[in-house]
Amino acid sequence: MGKSTIIPFGPQHPVLPEPVHLDLEIMDEKVVRAIPSIGYVHRGLEKLTETKDYNEMFYVIERICGICSFGHGWGYTLAVEGLMNVDVPDRADYLRTALHELSRIHSHLLWLGLLADGLGFESLFMHCWRLREKVLDLFEKMTGGRVIFSICKVGGLRKDITPEMQNDVLKTIKSLRNEVNSLTKVFLDDASVKNRLCGVGKLSKTEAVDLCAVGPVARGSGVNNDIRLTGIGKYLDLGFKPILEEDGDCYARCKVRILELYQSFDLIEQIMLELPQGPVDVPVKGMPPSNDFIARMEQPRGEAFYYVQGNGTKYLQRMRVRTPTNANIPAMVKTLQGCDLTDVSMLILTIDPCISCTER
């Protein structure tokens, strides 16, 4: 046994474009302990609620993160709608579900690309991001923005989609499904990818529960805490069933995300084929009452909390977002203990960290 050394990892690191810093205590080639520290990009967005109208606040919430921006917007509107007792029309709920699933596709493709980049598989990375570009184009067509959509609002949606767009979505999903098929084979069967992922960073089911893991990290260990089952959007009407894997290693977490891609394709196709007609918004009257409400949302990265507290004026008293990465950091730290130094980047990547989300 050698002497232990501390290796600083991040906040600037080639494998991870996220400002997280880890102090890795290394004994020989093994990590003995990892201490995370964040706080490099804290922006204090939650504090802005005191100076912004609850309708305007929506634009701030969306900008928490560029990848899950629709989910953040939806979660916030869900919380305010719960606070103000607003019922959203069916068509808006279906469209929100479809847009959220589309952003899940774009998030997972982005993550798969980053994983390939972390593996050193550059061509795979390029192909994942090429496919993601198609989803972004679809977003631009439907909402007018590639990353920041500004389409959700308290009470529904700001824009309706046209039948041509519906066809476009169906067409794009069809071609995406074909192209993702060829990439899936690489991620799930290729020897070099499997060597890096299989058996690395095991997180057992009990550990995942104890460490309060959420999202694909928890589902990769067989823990079912998918918030889409609580009745948000139209998931229950569409017969949604979460995808669970039992192994709990990096490969399982990767597999969950790939299978979720296909699930999202199915959900979107189903929605686009049976989209009901009708209005997409309802007028919202009055101010948020002095009460509080917690809405939860299943983001591509896991469960997110949106806590709002009103005070009878147009400004909210308090708004808080707890993002999925916040809950997955403990799981990451635990899996890092005892792993090889070379696997550190894989382990951090497979929880799909979004530190900018975490620090609002």
């Binding site: 305007e56 067509k141 700001r158 690489v186 020897a191």
Partner: protein, 121 residues
């Protein structure tokens, strides 16, 4: 376990035309709904100031005395609130983005004063 799973995809893309466009030689195609920047039809504007009040970032300044409509392009977040709020429908989202710059771009539009405005004031 299998190797060379990627070979087919790579070979295919060798013969396909590139997925990227030769920007800026080939200009980007905009969609109908693209939110690029806010445009204004000066003749229709009545300087009511609703857009300035609705703007979440306070990027728009309406000067009734000086008869100007000013937008700070770098503060604008392209949320389309002003376009929705405009009673005269003289604001619209134009597709192209504000070009990157080392200075904060402020666009000032002179509003030709309609006669009605004079009599009201």
């Amino acid at each position: 376990m299998a190797s060379f799973k990627m070979a087919k995809t790579v070979l295919k893309s060798l013969f396909k035309k590139p997925a990227t466009a030769m920007y800026p030689a080939v200009p980007r195609e905009w969609t109908e709904r693209t939110r690029g920047h806010v445009g204004i039809i000066e003749e229709n504007c009545i300087l009511c100031g609703i857009c300035a009040r609705k703007c979440p970032t306070n990027a728009i300044v309406v000067d009734r005395k000086g008869k100007t409509w000013t937008i700070n392009r770098m503060s604008c977040i392209q949320c389309e609130s002003c376009v929705e709020a405009c009673p005269k429908k003289c604001l619209a989202m134009a597709p192209s983005y504000t070009p990157p710059s080392v200075e904060k771009i402020t666009d000032i539009f002179e509003i030709p004063l309609p006669d009605k405005e004079k009599t009201e004031a």
